[in-house]
């Protein structure tokens, strides 16, 4: 159990409060941030005392379920000297499936990066890049349409299909990011073949008042600056019967040309402007909330990567680097992308004492993507450059109705729900994707049987989906075709608790996704990839069958500090896996010859292992590390699958400067300051199919990074500073999953400063 003790009125943390558990005689003292940790509690009901100098001791009964975060609020008002409010929020029970998450200080320490880069340190997650500014998350080898992103509970509907289309999300809106690994359609819906990324906003403050947070980040490479802040308020009547809250948040980001150890890359800057606002109200058992977010980015694309045909590409690969050394500039020229994403979410929730919690979520998303070519054919007239060569607009409406029911027959908890979606795409310019509209609906039911302290828990789930896709295309080759896809998905999971600190989990899950319009109908040259891509209009839906085994252990080793390790082994078998297969004859165009690829289906098997651990060597020194291994096979052709992340391993040593008070109280997580050195080694990807790629995969590389963290109180406000150096030795390397690896090396040494202040 861990949590924070705060003064209710000001919301400020209370230091030196004693938290004591009667039944086990265990206790802890809060640190300067009001945080406490009590390890090794079994599940069940406990009487918890919170004592603080000048107050009466107050007892509350807390029902401990799994790892819990329990916050206490001490009311220091003259009237209620001894009132303690206990808010115990059981985080969702342990998932059956492998999950990994980043939140709190860890997330703040990685701020300023793209969403994908913030996740890159997690086991089993890698990043597919187009230069430094466009990155997509890859979970256990799968990405784009095979990953579902739930932003604040709403499935992100942007332009996931393109390899150079990054998720249109401001990571600063999230307080915690969870990565669910492997097929998981039942709970999250179609497309969750490779996994799900859940972005959960920071919970609104619990005590009435106004507070906020300021985040600043600066990076030497690209001279990038980011500023993000939010302010929130909560008003409530006595005894919290009526509550009203609001939050306003905004982020600005600006970066210029970044550099490799040897040269600058022209036109690789970006501009980003994001904002969001929330208002909500609660009365008794009824809650309503409206959330709106706006995301806008303008990204320069490295000029040297814009090629006319295969000859140009071959010349660029032979050159191995840009023609010119380039120089620093914030100027954004052509080629470029401009992407805007609006999300409006309304949520209503009703807690019924008999049935459970009903929630109704409606969301509307509007996504506009514009791509600007380097020049208009013939000559770059200024007006022509203002006109995008590609422009798509996707409007999506989603509605979810879910009932999380109260325990049934004592041991069953679960939820049933209905999810609906309507989507329209309009292609204003460029013919890569036809106009289409699509509707889908899904019904799911998940139950979990749990009889604590019986060591076994079981979860079962089922889902049925229907999706309709209608494609038309203005112009000569009108498609005018309707496809309907139907599918059942299921999940079975078991958790065995060897002890409270050691679990083993076995999970079987399925997922599916309908082919996307580009896989069905594309017919043209993809200039970024120097290839001619041909869709197949009779493709069937892709289905994934996942088996995963996860073993987790947490053992006390040092002064109450625990060593932790997680191992997960998986096999994701995908039927009718859609991929681009090379065709024997190139396509001849007026621009020269292009290798031709066609969307084909095969049976694929992705199997692998993710492992990570954290080992306290001495009180101030911690060793951590991990390993991700993936083998991806095309079962039909008995060959490897292309563009799969290479195996990687990492390790780090962290030295923490602890204050004596914290040490005495065993507050190992609360460090005044720390210094950490990291090593990441990425192997060469030798498992590639022949005939798919223009250049062999790059060599293995090793990077060293350094990070220093410092926490202090600045005018009574908690402040947090992180200083970092990435790629300390300015090592020259290329990464297999960077689409610009044909043209350029990866970025060189990068100094960073990050500052966080809560007010």
């Amino acid at each position: 159990m861990c949590g924070t003790v705060r003064e209710a009125k000001s919301g400020k943390p209370v230091a030196f409060a004693e938290v004591f558990i009667h039944e086990t005689q265990a206790g802890a003292v809060t640190n300067a941030d009001g945080r406490f940790h009590i390890h090794g509690l079994c599940e069940g009901k406990y009487t918890v005392d919170v004592r603080h100098i000048g107050c009466h001791t107050v007892s509350k009964v807390v029902d401990i379920v799994g790892n819990m975060e329990v916050d206490f609020e001490l009311h220091h008002s003259a009237l209620n000297l001894d009132e303690v409010v206990v808010k115990a929020s059981a985080v969702a029970p342990l998932a059956m499936q492998a999950e990994t998450r980043i939140g709190g200080l860890q997330l703040i320490a990685s701020q300023g990066q793209t969403l994908s880069d913030a996740l890159e340190d997690l086991p089993g997650v890698s990043v597919l890049n187009t230069g430094q500014t466009i990155s997509k998350p890859v979970i256990q080898g799968l990405h784009s349409n095979r990953i579902l992103i739930l932003n604040n509970g709403v499935r992100q509907e942007g332009q996931q299909w393109g390899l150079d289309h990054a998720p249109e999300i401001d990571p600063y809106t999230a307080g915690e990011i969870t990565v669910v690994k492997g097929a998981s359609s039942v709970r999250y819906g179609q497309d969750a073949i490779g996994g799900v990324i859940l972005l959960t906003p920071k919970p609104i403050r619990e005590a009435p008042g106004t507070s906020g947070e300021l985040n600043l980040a600066g990076f030497s490479n690209g001279r990038t600056g980011v500023a993000s802040a939010f302010v929130e308020s909560l008003w409530q009547t006595k005894r919290s019967a009526h509550q009203l809250w609001s939050r306003i948040q905004g982020t600005l980001k600006r970066g210029g040309n970044y550099h490799t150890p040897a040269y600058f890359l022209e036109n690789t800057g970006l501009k980003e402007t994001n904002g969001s606002a929330t208002i909500g109200a609660k009365r008794g058992n009824f809650l309503a909330e409206v959330f709106y977010s706006y995301f806008f980015t303008e990204i320069g694309i490295f000029r040297g990567a814009h090629i006319g045909n295969l000859t140009d590409l071959q010349l660029a690969i032979d050159r191995g680097r840009p023609i010119q050394d380039g120089s620093f500039s914030y100027h954004l020229g052509r080629p470029a992308q401009k992407v805007a994403h609006h999300l409006l979410k309304t949520k209503a929730e009703w807690k019924s004492d008999q049935l459970g919690t009903f929630s109704l979520v409606y969301a509307r998303q509007f996504n506009r993507r514009q791509e600007f070519d380097a020049h208009s054919l013939g000559g770059p007239s200024q007006e022509a450059l203002q006109v995008p060569s590609l422009e798509f607009e996707i409007t999506t409406h989603t509605a979810d109705v879910v009932l999380k029911h109260r325990p049934l027959l004592r041991y069953f908890t679960g939820s049933v729900g209905l999810q609906l979606m309507h989507q329209v795409n309009t292609t204003d310019r460029g013919g890569l994707i036809p106009n289409y509209d699509s509707q889908s609906g899904g019904l799911f039911w998940i139950e979990r049987w749990r009889n604590y302290p019986f060591p076994l828990e079981i979860e079962l789930g089922i889902r049925y989906d229907v999706k309709r896709l209608y494609a038309d295309r203005r112009g000569p080759d009108r498609i005018d075709e309707e496809r309907i896809f139907r599918n059942f998905s299921g999940t079975v999971g078991g958790l065995y608790r060897i002890s409270d600190a050691i679990h083993a989990r076995l999970h079987f899950g399925t997922a599916w996704r309908a082919p996307t319009v580009n896989e069905l109908y594309s017919d043209g040259v993809h200039h970024g990839a120097a290839s001619y891509e041909l869709g197949q209009k009779d493709l069937s839906a892709e289905k994934a069958f996942l088996t995963s085994f996860t073993f987790e252990a947490s053992l006390p080793v040092q002064n109450g500090r625990s060593a932790q390790a997680t191992l997960s082994i998986y096999r994701n078998r995908i039927r009718e896996f859609i991929y681009l297969a090379p065709m024997p004859q190139p396509v001849l165009t007026i621009r020269g010859a292009f290798p031709a690829f066609r969307y084909e289906q095969t049976n694929a098997m992705l199997s692998g292992m993710d492992f990570d651990f954290n080992w306290p060597l001495t009180t101030p020194l911690t060793f951590d590390g991990g390993l991700s291994v993936l083998r991806a096979r095309n079962l039909t052709t008995k060959d490897w699958l292309i563009f799969m992340p290479a195996d990687r391993l990492w390790g780090g040593l962290e030295y923490a400067f602890l204050t004596s008070v914290k040490e005495a109280a065993g507050q190992v997580d609360d460090r005044r300051a720390s210094l950490k050195i990291d090593v990441v080694h990425v192997l060469e990807q030798k498992r590639v199919p022949p005939g798919f790629d223009y250049a062999p995969p790059p060599k293995a590389y090793t990077l060293f990074n350094l990070e220093a963290r410092l926490k202090w109180n600045w005018q009574d406000l908690p402040a947090f500073l992180t200083l970092g150096i990435e790629n300390i030795f300015n090592h020259t390397y290329r990464d297999y999953l960077n689409r610009l690896r044909y043209f350029t090396e990866e970025q060189g040494r990068n100094f960073s400063v990050r500052f966080n202040l809560k007010f």
């Binding site: 109200a281 909330e289 020049h375 310019r429």
Partner: protein
């Protein structure tokens, strides 16, 4: 008073929702779709005296669909021709557009390269505004009867100071004509 706060909040929630749903539906859709410039035709004109010979490479519907059709270039032996190359957008034949003019206006940004195999290479290429090679016009002198090929490449933003300018820049056109000299 308290309920008042609550209901005003609910009103804001609802009003914002509907305002957004209805206002945001009329995003601009008034753009003419698929209006993209495309070079569909490369035209070589060989002039000797009063006689002009015209050879085309045409892909009217762009990449894919109907294939690219390239004429065979038939020239007389031991003759000197004035060669000119033209780039056209003939997606809509009634409204063909001559892109050569744009190339000429931005002459410093463009370069026409020729690669001949088995037949002579063009000589005396014309120059851009900076006095560097442009290549829209050239002299072509045939020798005895022969057959081979002539590749015509239009480069955008080449580095004309490079040792081999034709290996730089972005390729807009790359077409190979078979050449027969009788």
């Amino acid at each position: 008073m308290k309920t008042h706060i609550f209901f005003s909040a609910k009103a804001i929630v609802l009003a914002t929702t509907f305002a957004f749903i209805f206002s945001a539906c009329d995003d601009d859709n008034d753009v003419v779709p698929n209006e993209q410039e495309l070079i569909t035709t490369v035209r070589l004109t060989f002039t000797s005296g009063n006689e002009s010979l015209v050879f085309n490479a045409i892909d009217a519907d762009g990449p894919g669909g109907n294939p690219l059709v390239v004429d065979e270039v038939n020239l007389a032996a031991n003759t000197t021709y004035q060669l000119s190359v033209a780039f056209l957008d003939e997606q809509d034949p009634a409204n063909a557009e001559d892109i050569t003019e744009e190339v000429r206006e931005e002459s410093t940004e463009h370069l026409v390269c020729y690669e001949a195999t088995g037949v002579p290479s063009p000589t005396g290429l014309d120059l851009d505004a900076n006095g560097k090679t442009l290549g829209l016009k050239a002299t072509y002198t045939t020798a005895d009867a022969a057959s081979g090929s002539l590749k015509v490449i239009l480069k955008h933003e080449p580095d004309k100071d490079a040792a081999n300018p034709c290996a730089t820049g972005e390729t807009d056109v790359e077409v190979t004509f078979n050449v027969v000299v009788n």
